[in-house]
Amino acid sequence: MIGYIVRRVLAIIPVLLVVGIVVFMLIHLTPGDPAQVILGDAATPARVKVLRHQLGLDQPLWKQFLTWVEHVCRGNLGTSLFYQQSVVHTVAVRVGPTASLAGLAFVFSLVIAIPSALLAVWKRGSLLDPIFMSGSLLGVSMPNFWLALMMISLFGVKLGWLPVSGYVPLDQGVGLWFSHLLMPAFVLAIQQAGLIARMLRDGMLDVLHQDYIRTARAKGAGERLVLLHHAFRNALIPTVTVIGTSLAGLLGGAVVTEVVFAIPGVGNLIVQSIASRDFPVLTGAVMFVALVYVLVNLLIDLLYSVLDPRVQYR
C-alpha cells in the first residue's frame, strides 16, 4: 500500500512535465506579444524590444523552455508579467476562494444528489422516477452562466437577500463568507448533483438485480436495510468515480461561475492571465489544476480500496 502510494506520487512528475510542455507550447504558438500587451498600443518598437529582452522573450523557444524547467525544478515558477509577484504567490492567494467555493459546492451537490437518488430508487416505478430523471437531466444541461444570472437577478437584485457578487474570506466572518458563496456554490452544485444522482440511481438499480440482494431479502432484511446498507454501499463504488472527477473539476476552478460572481479564484485567474498574456501565471495556474486532478484521482483510487475489499494495491 505504502509502496503503491509512493509510486503514484512519483508518477505525478512526468504528468506535470507533459502538462508543462503542452501549456508552454500552446502559449508561445498563439499570436500576441506580452511585451506589447504590457506596454500598450502607444509603445514604441524600441521600448518593446527592450522589454522583450528583459523578459527573455527574444531567446529561442527551446532555450526559454529549458530555463523555465530549470526554474520549476527549483520551485520557482517565475514572476507574473503583470502583478510583479511570484507566480506561486499569485496562484496561492487564489486557492482560498476556489477551495471555499469548491468545498461548499461539493457538499451541496452530495446533499442534493444522495437523498434524491435514494428517494428515486425507493419509489422506483412510481411517478417520482420520471420526475427525478427529468430533474437530473435539467440539472446537468442547464447552462451555468444562465442559472447564475437568473439567481443573481432574483435573489441578489429583486429580493436583495444575497450579495450579487464578490468574495469575503472566511476569517472576516463565516456568515459573510457563506452568504457570498451560497449562490455560486449552488449553481455549481446543481450541475454536479444531476450527474452524481443519476449515477447513484443507476448504480443502485443495477445492484438491486444482483443475487446478493435477493439473499439479503431472503434472510429477512427489510427494504430500508436492503437499500441503505446492501445496495447503497455497492452502488457507491462506481459513483465515487463521478464524485471524484466532479471534485477535481470544482477544485480546478469553475471558470464561468467564478467570472460571473467575480470570485477571485483560480478559474478567474486563468481567464485574466489569458487575456493579459501573462504566460508564467497561466502556466502556473494550469499546472496547479493538473496537480489537483492527479491528487484527487489518487485519492479516489485509494478510496476504492476502502469501499471495495476486492480492490487491493500492492
Binding site: L208, Q210, D211, Y212, I213, R214, T215, A216, R217, A218, K219, G220, A221, G222, E223, L225, H230, R233, N234, I237, L307, D308, P309, R310
Partner: protein, 356 residues
C-alpha cells in the same frame, strides 16, 4: 403410503381444497398461480400448483429450466415480486398461516427465521463488500435480541457446524477470499443460523463441481437431522432427487405433473415426461456407448402454451383427448399423476423399460 397402495387400481381426482389447518403439514401449497407480465399480457409461469411437505420431510421439486420450479420457491418466500412476478391465485399454508395473506413486515420476520432459502449461485449470492461473518450475523441481529458479540459467537459456531475450518478467521474474510464450496457453506450457515423449520434450497449444488456437490448434499442431510428441519429442494438433477428426497414433485411447464414418494417415482414413473427424464440419465441401466435417450422437442414458451396437456406435442403416447383437455392430477397406482393415459397399456409398458 401403505393404505394408498391398497387402493392401487382405483383413481380419484385430488381435491385442491384439501387443506385444513393443523393437519400435520408444515407447508401446504394450494393452487398457486404466479404470472409474469410480458408484452402487454400476463403469462403464467406457475399454474395451479399444489403440493405439501410434512415436518422433517425432504421434498424435491424436479423439472427442466422454465418448468416453474424456481418461481414456485420464490413465490413461497414472497420474493417473486422483486423478480417481476405476481401471485394471482392460491394459498401457501405454512405452519397454520397463509403466507400470501401476510403483510410485508410479517413476511420479513418469516424469511430467514422460520423459512430460509439457499440459492444456486454461491459466487454471487454473497455481498462482495461485507465479511461473510457480518452477513451471517446480520441474519441473527434481524431476528433476535442478541448483542453483536453474541451474534458473532453464534456465527463462528455456525461456520464450524457447516464444516468450515478455522471459522474465527474465515468469518472475518470477504466472499472473494473463499472458494465456491466454502461460499455455499457460508450461504447454508446464513440460512440455518436462526434454526428455521423449513429450508428451501434452489439448485444448491448446480454451480459446484461434483465432489463439492456431494459434500454439500451430505451437509444438508446432516443438518436436517441435527436441526430437525424440513427441506424443499429444487433441482433439475434426478440423481440429486434420488439421493435426497423423501417425496418428489415433478413439474413441467408450470404444472405439477407427477407427485409421489421417491420409490414410487423412480420405480414406477407414470407420466411419460417423468419416464423420459429418467430414461435420459446417462448410465441408468444403459449400455456403455449406447445412444443417450432424449425427450424430443423442448419446453414450450410461457406465452405459447399448447392446448390440453402441455406435454402433448412432445409425448410419444399423445392421443386426441391430450390435445384438448388438460389432465388433472389424480391418484393412480399409489401416487398422483396428471396424465390421461397413465393407466393405458403403452404408457404402463414404458414404465418397466425406464424404471430401475
Amino acid at each position: 403410503m401403505a393404505s394408498r397402495t391398497v387402493k392401487s387400481r382405483k383413481s380419484r381426482v385430488v381435491d385442491p381444497g384439501d387443506h385444513s389447518v393443523g393437519d400435520g403439514k408444515l407447508l401446504n401449497v394450494v393452487g398457486l398461480t404466479t404470472v409474469f407480465h410480458a408484452n402487454g399480457r400476463d403469462v403464467r409461469a406457475v399454474d395451479s400448483v399444489s403440493f405439501h411437505l410434512s415436518p422433517g420431510e425432504t421434498v424435491c421439486i424436479v423439472g427442466e429450466s422454465g418448468s416453474g420450479k424456481s418461481v414456485t420457491s420464490l413465490s413461497i418466500m414472497k420474493l417473486i415480486e422483486n423478480e417481476g412476478g405476481r401471485v394471482v391465485a392460491g394459498s401457501i399454508w405454512f405452519d397454520g398461516d397463509d403466507l400470501l395473506k401476510a403483510s410485508n413486515e410479517e413476511m420479513r420476520r418469516v424469511r430467514g427465521r422460520t423459512v430460509s432459502m439457499v440459492f444456486q449461485e454461491p459466487m454471487t449470492a454473497l455481498n462482495p463488500i461485507f465479511t461473510v461473518g457480518s452477513q451471517i450475523s446480520e441474519a441473527i441481529l434481524l431476528h433476535t435480541d442478541e448483542s453483536r458479540e453474541q451474534a458473532w459467537n453464534r456465527t463462528v459456531d455456525m461456520l464450524r457446524l457447516v464444516g468450515i475450518p478455522e471459522p474465527e478467521i474465515r468469518a472475518k474474510q470477504y466472499p472473494h477470499q473463499l472458494s465456491g464450496g466454502m461460499r455455499q457453506r457460508v450461504v447454508v450457515a446464513m440460512a440455518l443460523v436462526c434454526n428455521p423449520k423449513l429450508l428451501i434450497a434452489d439448485e444448491p449444488t448446480t454451480a459446484l463441481d461434483v465432489t463439492i456437490q456431494a459434500q454439500v448434499l451430505d451437509l444438508l442431510r446432516r443438518l436436517k437431522r441435527d436441526l430437525k428441519m424440513s427441506i424443499l429442494l429444487i433441482t433439475h438433477d434426478m440423481g440429486v432427487a434420488a439421493e435426497m428426497a423423501d417425496r418428489v414433485v415433478v413439474m413441467y411447464a408450470g404444472n405439477v405433473i407427477e407427485e409421489g414418494s421417491v420409490e414410487e417415482i423412480f420405480d414406477r414413473p407414470l407420466h411419460p415426461y417423468t419416464q423420459g427424464l429418467l430414461a435420459s440419465i446417462p448410465g441408468r441401466n444403459g449400455v456403455r456407448g449406447a445412444r443417450l435417450h432424449a425427450i424430443a422437442g423442448s419446453t414450450p414458451a410461457l406465452a405459447d402454451m399448447p392446448e390440453g396437456c402441455r406435454f402433448n406435442p412432445r409425448c410419444p403416447f399423445a392421443v386426441d383427448i391430450c390435445r384438448v383437455e388438460a389432465p388433472a392430477l389424480r391418484l393412480v397406482d399409489g401416487h398422483n399423476v396428471a396424465c390421461h393415459r397413465a393407466q393405458d397399456a403403452p404408457v404402463v409398458a414404458a414404465r418397466t423399460s425406464t424404471a430401475q
